[in-house]
Symmetry: C2
Subunit: 552 residues, 2 copies
């Protein structure tokens, strides 16, 4: 039996485009003599469609897409994910389903049993868990067909009280197929391999796994579809961050897998280090955000600091240097070296840049407000004012010329509220909002790995917002090495103050940092969507009340 | 048996305050000879604590609070909601639990079976559904103790496959107690009565129901705790939008309820019309947002239009006229009548106001940008610029003097993206973001019901953003009567384009409006939290992808 896996970049709700890509893959598979082609979970709609699932019209469009795809399945079978309506009068309205299409029609349907409802996942919001799984019979083989999370709950502590794969295993399957929509974080590639290998070994079956690739706003899918032999050997793994298509042959009787055809070099070097994975994920995230919104041009404010430098380099990589515009917006407090560093960077990247001084606008506001502010000392108001004037200028350029403004805030400053709402926190997309400051430095060094792009001075100088004379980040924050460790413990690992103090951090610093995080929730609420690269990003995966009074 | 119900305004994560309020109520109940006092679901933590539930430290604080409260339960029993740890190695880490405290300790615990996971609810994100319910025995009576949603799934179409109250009914209970955290929308009071009455009738039992009151950022709890006789008569219903405490006597043998003590006049007039409910809910929402964040003073930009007028009147009611600051920010396009209308309103409300002209700042930006914009026609850029300059000025005043900026966007314009990001879409809290424009007019008339507060001209003139000469909202949008109907059908009822065209709207208008809604998701993503008064508000209850390509 020849089995094709199609790793595709879908677009949520863009049925025409998704169906076309799917039908093209089926056509190609037919030409290669494939018996079964496997697509990802929720392929026809893209993932996650979120509350579009609550619209009958959207569900009907999913059905129409499945019907249309089924008509291409003549002489070939397809497994493909799409929602379906729960026929029972009890339970949620929908199932998260896997369709088996053959002979021009839907021949079989099964549904997801384990519905991830944590972090960025909301599946029980829409779907009823399925409790009556059965193997699928095709060409004399029994296929244990599961959907993503169905095979992930295999640790000692179980998140669910049922295990669909345990049920299927009792029916004597010959192979496992898992269709997934499993988003990226920088540990996901290794977790995925480990979980899939454990499944192959536990059930002693070959496993064919198909994932999404591409970005859907903040969620990044790295692909990494793979085939595992029954002995737990990873026989083949798809490239990351790009579409891919491969055909395997499952030998008669033996259940041994061999590669039959590949669009790509399977041995292509995959990014493996944390920073290279983050880098490639962010580049894809920027690129797909623009493509899927039908925009091409980005703009950002270049300060001479590390965050905007790294954002600019990533944007240039994602969109092409011709499609990125850098704007330097110096104020009376901007240092000469900042302007120089920014200019050198733009020139290194061959990116057009403008210099727009904000002094005139700043003065006009000083005059406008003088009646109200007269005699009062300068404070955070004047600092925020500079950041907001820059935002107004950048948004004016964005409006006039059709750029999307990229946000340059990093995760450390977003965490502690070190940023100006409607100022430097503006933008359509936050590129570095899930990257701690210390990781931004690592990214800068990675970007410079083969040639100097980001000026060394940008990397080596002490971080400063340059909103008052001589200001440094370290004036008001712990140094970033320590800050980022505490933030990681609190945000990713959800450690409490007691745990942190036990780890040796002073009570004073722990209390200060946690309070800053909790009392700046209102700022993060209005941040742009953040490209997610960690296990706990700000945004849809971290849901916090604003008026809470806890560790604050 | 004397049963007290305590309807309390909790503060999420503010354990000291919540425990104090709970202990005070227990003390008062003791003085009245009460046998059992009932508090709401998740009372000790406030509701919803959201992802704080994933912090061990937070859960431990819930346990400590329960222990402390139990020590007050000498000679009196209490039923109270709080999370508890699921002792099984399978399933979610927590239960959403009801504790029975007596004799200084925890005597019994049961858990919620039906976990709302839709709209603003995320309960399966945290909790395992409980499947082994049993009645609670106290003073010779069997109590069927359930938690909120447990008794709401009583229609013909069931959202859940189990029914805890059906199970409990078989154990011969004498009364039902339901503890709830059921947020307000303008149809909630009537739905609540209907659902509770149906339960009393179906199980032929008296029902004691305790809800939260008060606002937690966007979620508003109206209270409305109540007692229903076994014959379905609503014996007593608590006041809306305020704390309340009452004691009932359940006659020996008969299960007939009588009122024993009340803090308030139970017969106090309740708001009943949709608009009066929305009005009171919004006033509470503003007031609690400020109280719980320890702020007292609000600021807003007053345009002379209806949205800022209504917001100002609500803020004055919520915070007191001395705590609200109005700022008029006229531009070269502001009409004389707008300034007059705004001044009259501020004077009617006895609210201090300032007039700050934005022309100087606008000119400075024109000059700053002239090199880039020279020769290009004025467009949306210059319109947005005015809105953003106003935001910069308001935020400067906010920063300098400690005001919180109130957002004045209404639901209609938020829906279609008719507003400027980082301009009029700014603010700490959106007061009218869940109130359609036509409802804003109704609110204005309601505010004026006994004396003229909002100038008649503000209500009668055609809506305009006044960002270019002679501009009217109707230049680019369908008239609000029709627009709001289409938006309601699409947003609240989730009707598709086919349904809407079947209802008689033209394909052209339907297609335009739905496209506007779907393509302005990126703007709403960065809106402030919206006080929720409808069944489908923007924010946590409506989760949409940004890069989707559907009806767009």
């Amino acid at each position: 039996m020849k089995i094709a896996l199609a790793q595709i970049n879908y677009h949520i709700g863009h049925f025409d485009s998704n169906v076309l890509k799917i039908k093209n893959a089926i056509q190609k598979a037919k030409q290669k003599g494939v018996d079964l082609i496997v697509f990802a979970e929720m392929a026809v709609s893209g993932y996650p469609p979120r509350d579009f699932l609550e619209f009958d019209d959207f569900i009907q469009k999913c059905y129409q897409a499945i019907k249309e795809i089924a008509q291409s399945c003549i002489g070939i079978a397809a497994i493909i994910g799409s929602p379906s309506i729960n026929p029972s009068a009890k339970g949620k309205f929908l199932y998260n389903s896997a369709y088996f299409l053959y002979d021009g029609d839907i021949q079989y349907i099964t549904h997801k049993s384990l519905l991830p409802t944590y972090d960025i996942f909301d599946e029980y919001r829409y779907f009823e868990p399925f409790r009556d799984v059965n193997v699928l019979n095709y060409m004399g083989r029994k296929i244990a067909l599961t959907i993503c999370e169905d095979i992930w709950d295999i640790g000692d502590e179980r998140l669910y009280t049922i295990s669909p794969m345990d049920v299927l295993a009792k029916q004597g399957p010959d192979l496992m197929v898992n269709i997934a929509a499993s988003p990226f974080h920088y540990r996901q590639a290794s977790s995925r391999r480990e979980v899939l290998v454990r499944n192959a070994l536990r059930y002693n079956l070959p496993l064919f796994y198909v994932n999404h690739v591409g970005a859907q706003t903040e969620l990044l899918f790295d692909g990494g579809s793979m085939v595992i032999n029954r002995d737990g050997e990873i026989f083949d793994e798809f490239n990351y961050f790009e579409e891919d298509f491969r055909v395997y042959e499952l030998k008669e009787g033996s259940n041994q897998v061999s590669l039959f055809y590949s669009d790509f070099k399977p041995e292509k070097q995959k990014p493996e280090s944390k920073i290279s994975l983050i880098h490639d994920a962010l580049v894809m995230g920027i690129r797909n955000y623009f493509q899927k919104l039908s925009f091409s041009k980005a703009i950002l404010g270049l300060s001479g600091g590390i965050d905007s430098a790294v954002t600019l380099a990533l944007a240039a990589r994602a969109l092409g240097n011709d499609n990125v515009k850098a704007v330097l917006l110096p104020s009376r407090y901007s240092s000469e070296h900042s302007i120089n560093d920014a200019v050198v960077l733009a020139e290194n990247l061959n990116i057009p840049y403008d210099i727009i001084h904000i002094e005139k606008a700043f003065k006009s506001f000083e005059e406008t407000m003088s009646q109200w502010f007269d005699g009062l000392p300068a404070d955070i108001t004047e600092e925020n004012l500079q950041a907001r004037i820059r935002a107004v200028i950048l948004m004016s350029l964005s409006n006039k010329f059709g750029y999307i403004l990229l946000n340059t805030s990093n995760k450390s400053e977003a965490a502690v509220g070190y940023g100006t709402l409607y100022g430097d926190m503006c933008g359509g997309l936050s590129v570095l909002g899930d990257v701690y400051k210390t990781e931004v430095f690592d990214l800068a060094r990675y970007i410079n790995r083969s040639q100097p792009i980001i000026p060394e001075h940008t990397i080596s100088k002490p971080p400063s917002a340059e909103l008052r004379p001589g200001q440094k980040d370290s004036d008001s924050l712990p140094d970033y090495e320590m800050l980022d460790q505490i933030l990681y413990q609190y945000i990713e690992l959800r450690k409490g103050p007691g745990d942190l103090i036990d780890q040796g951090y002073s009570e004073e610093i722990v209390s200060k940092v946690l309070k800053l995080v909790n009392t700046s929730e209102h700022k993060r609420y209005q941040m742009p969507p953040v490209l997610r690269v960690s296990t706990k990003a700000f945004g849809m995966g971290r849901r916090m009340p604003i008026v809470a009074k806890y560790l604050s």
